[in-house]
């Protein structure tokens, strides 16, 4: 038994492969655009942590707050992971995803440190609240565009091989 496959059919099959893969990138982009809730929730949790940790807490109390912060963030990650309908294959990620992740951490850390120093130097009242608000604000402002930037290149990267094969 044999299956005849001519060049035209092979080309059509290559088109057929591309369509479902586009649906994967549609889902990734849809999630990236609609995850504002996750960003605001994370920023809110960070605000509470920074505001509380700015108080003069004893070491054990700070440890407790830190543990609670990590636990809440972990729970949030689990909840969002359960809602996800698919996960992109690791080979499809680009350097932008890693860069956005580390840049997000760096921007948040630098904002926390810089706003803390500024608040101390100017001896502002409610220093921990100011530091928490500035840091959470920087996080919200940075994460959205960074996420979109990271996701923006995935589709081209993922389908370029197929285009090379079938688009000639």
């Amino acid at each position: 038994m044999s299956t005849p496959v001519n060049a035209e059919q092979a080309w059509q099959d290559l088109q057929r492969i591309r369509v479902p893969q586009e649906r994967v990138y549609d889902e990734i982009e849809r999630c990236a655009e609609s995850d504002a809730g996750a960003t605001y929730t994370t920023a809110g949790i960070m605000w509470v942590f920074l505001a509380v940790s700015g108080l003069d807490l004893p070491g054990w109390a700070f440890g407790l707050v830190l543990a609670a912060y990590v636990a809440v963030l972990g729970s949030l990650a689990v909840i969002y992971n359960r809602r996800t309908r698919m996960r992109l294959h690791r080979s499809r990620h680009s350097w932008r995803s890693v860069a956005a992740f580390f840049a997000g951490m760096a921007v948040t850390a630098v904002t926390i440190l810089a706003s803390g120093l500024l608040v101390d130097r100017l001896a502002l009242p409610y220093g921990s609240l100011i530091r928490a608000t500035v840091s959470a604000g920087a996080f919200v402002l940075f994460i959205g565009p960074a996420n979109r930037w990271a996701v923006g290149s995935l589709r081209d990267r993922g389908t370029s091989d197929l285009r090379k094969g079938a688009g000639r």
Binding site: E8, W11, D13, R18, Q21, A166
Partner: protein, 131 residues
């Protein structure tokens, strides 16, 4: 005419090819996502998934219970290799046919227009059924 190595009869049918192509881009996907993305009925998708599972091309895992029960589908390394081999074989067929198989309307790689009706141009390849 010999078939390029890697051509896979099991994933050649259109629906199975779409299922495997979608899963190849993911670590895993859940059943409703596959069904909606491919516009298939539950039974049609289930049938294709079980055929592929029997060939050890994918794994089906059920998580949770009751109304929160979730079915996750994941391509195995064997399935991924088969898909990559199949894509390479399809490319080889297109490339082997030369310019005759590359219709004039395929001028821009991003345009992806529908091909004209098959004219019989290009080489006729035959895939052996036995894997």
């Amino acid at each position: 005419m010999s078939t390029p190595s890697g051509f896979d009869e099991l994933i050649h049918p259109a629906t199975r090819l779409s299922v495997v192509a979608l899963l190849a881009a993911t670590e895993w996907a859940d059943f409703p996502f596959l069904r909606d993305s491919l516009s298939l009925s539950d039974s049609a998708l289930s049938k294709q998934l079980h055929t592929l599972e029997e060939a050890e091309y994918l794994e089906i895992r059920k998580e949770g219970g009751g109304r929160k029960r979730r079915t996750k589908v994941r391509l195995t390394s064997r399935g991924r290799s088969a898909f990559e081999g199949h894509v390479a074989a399809l490319r080889a067929i297109v490339e082997g046919a030369g310019p005759a198989a590359a219709p004039a309307h395929r001028t821009e790689s991003r345009a992806w227009p529908e091909p004209a009706a098959a004219t019989g141009a290009g080489q006729q390849q035959h895939a052996e059924a036995g894997r």
